[in-house]
């Protein structure tokens, strides 16, 4: 299990954000969004830090983190492949896309691939039903009207992108 040390400089960024919003009521979810943006996930150490800084019981923080599907306590791949499981996508074969992605990447659930590049997530309706079935990679890359045989090419695109960077 990777741990994030107390001395991690990223805590400073988080603390700065918490100080900014501390006048407002009910900001726990907002703070957790920020924390996940900074750390990529919300391991127990980060939750403890948030609890202490916001003077909220650790149990409350843990309760919120585990309630909402957006928050994760496990690291995710650099590229999160979000396969839409909304009605329109489901009717148009979203399930098949999910199976093919898992097959191509050799993963079972939402764990990241060995190289840490990808992880697969089943998501709720992305509201792009007219393009069904859709896959969202990261926050912005929408792939519409995807068929299973397009998947190896899609994955390759991102692998290539990474290859270039290295």
């Amino acid at each position: 299990m990777p741990t994030i040390l107390d001395t991690d400089p990223r805590y400073e960024e988080l603390d700065k954000y918490i100080d900014q919003v501390k006048e407002k009521k009910g900001m726990l979810i907002g703070v957790l969004h920020k924390a996940q943006e900074i750390f990529g996930y919300l391991p127990i150490e980060v939750q403890h830090h948030v609890a202490k800084k916001m003077k909220i019981p650790e149990s409350t923080v843990y309760g919120v983190v585990t309630f909402y599907s957006f928050f994760t306590m496990k690291p995710r791949g650099k590229y999160q492949i979000k396969v839409c499981m909304g009605t329109a996508c489901y009717v148009k074969g979203g399930q098949k896309l999910l199976e093919r992605f898992r097959e191509e990447l050799g993963v079972q659930g939402d764990e990241p691939t060995e190289d840490g590049l990808f992880s697969i997530q089943e998501v709720r309706c992305l509201g792009a039903c007219s393009m069904a079935p859709v896959v969202l990679i990261g926050e912005r890359d929408f792939h519409g009207r995807v068929t299973p045989d397009m998947i190896p090419k899609i994955i390759d695109e991102y692998r290539k992108k990474e290859g270039k960077k290295k």
């Binding site: 909402y68 499981m85 009605t87 509201g127």
Partner: protein
Amino acid sequence: MSVKHTILICAGGACISSGEESVKSVLEEELKKNDLEDSVRVVQTGCMGSCNLGPIMIVYPEGVFYQKLKPQDAKKIVEEHLLKGKIVSSLLHRGPTGKVEPHAKEELPFFTEQVKIATRNLGLIDPFNINEYIANDGYFALEKVLKSSPEWVIEEIKKSGLRGRGGAGFPTGLKWEFTRKAPGDEKYVICNADEGDPGAFMDRSVLEGDPHSVIEGMEIAGYAIGSHHGYIYVRAEYPLAIERLNNAISQAKRYGLLGENILNTDFSFDIELRIGAGAFVCGEETALIQSVEGLRGQPVQKPPFPAQKGVWGKPTVINNVETLANIPVIINKGAEWFASIGTEKSKGTKVFALSGKINNAGLVEVPMGTTLRKIIFDIGGGIPNGKKFKAVQTGGPSGGCIPAEYLDTPVDYESLTKLGTIMGSGGMVVMDEDTCMVDVARYFLQFSADESCGKCTPCREGTRKMLEILDRIVEGKGKMEDLDMLEELALTIKDTALCGLGQTAPNPVLSTLKYFRDEYEAHIKEKRCPAKSCKALIAYQIDPNACVGCTACAKVCPVGAISGEVRKVHEIDQEKCIKCGSCYEVCKFDAVKKVDAVDLKLNIKNE
């Protein structure tokens, strides 16, 4: 130099995902190259609604509608249309008969049959520019309201007959009146933008395409109930909506239309965004309140209703996005005008998000009382690939499926409830003969079971038990008694669950049991899936008379289950086949057939 052309580019979600941004950047490049930057104005608008035609561009003053654009097409439009005044006919819409329709927006039934109130500005104005909203009567209603009494505003909304567009259809004016009359100095307005129903994207389009209309609606609500603070609770899945709302809020503040002493009156109102974190139940108002407070989004018992005890324990009005977007128009044009549209008990219009097996997928707004047939066939363009319409699903996981025999039903709150479904937020997912209704029911139940917050037993355990039964049926292991058990469970959950999610979760099962019982029975008695969709009950087979031996299927098969030589008939090894359907998709000769597994005398594989 004066502006000679205005180009509207749709920047709705679907157009963006089909490449609108690169079309726009090529367009801008070309305008620069040809020195047209000053004489051509480019406006990025919200969703135009015809999502299947995206990316879309309309060139004014001619009003020429260009569709399905690729980046290089922008160059053609600049060179031909803008410079030479010639319409690029290859980029125009063609009707079903092949007729070219250069002014599709004025010609296609998809556009002409609509009546736009909540979506009035979508596809027309730049959502990033408050001036464009103001130019289209924006914030006029707020000004009018501030010169009147809160009681007048409430009376006007009551007279208009506006009902909540989020699903249940509670009269908006009445909700406001209850909240105004509730004791307490501190009150809140919440905009419910947690559009969670799968297959629904109306609210998203309004937030992205016309954020100011929602802000203005909230301010009017705030004035009417005596509140100075509003929250917009928006899903984290809608980053674009969040960006545009944030921009709109700060613009409105700069213009003195939001914040302290609005329009130099003593009315002050502030709006804060709250971002959800992926929990469907948060669309339920009491759960939403918990989430706004930063807690787990678990519903609480009603009464007390939010109008008495809402966020921070204070009286709170919660309205849906579309409801709020209607408010400014009602104030401007009057309650009588609004009430003259629609049916006796459901006034005004409703926005629907059409998706699934339909030609014109997209966003439509029609008067209440429009028939399903008109929405799906006249406006929606019917079912693609010559398939037969089977059912339309409304109301998401809380709704049900309506079969073909009720296509002539005028859509309003009452008529849909009578059919065993609900209006819901406005998602309409169309299903054709290839959709298995048992599997659809299972899909929605799985959704509700996953999203059940776990607080009350009927919903937490009941939906799970129903799901187990449905899982058995789609695998061909169901018994006839299962159907009685499903019904018993469904009715118990409906009566005893704590919140709306649980109380409505059985609807998809009840409505399919009512209209498509034969499909359930076919799965159970004959081990057949009539739609040939349930994996465990079908098999793929190659028709030797149709196969030309092109080898496409063998190449695409991920498990090497297909054998055969070039130009000779291929065969599928049923033992190896994982029924992924790749061969079926790839065959150009319709030689791969779906058959009932029972007919092949295959044992239904046990997992």
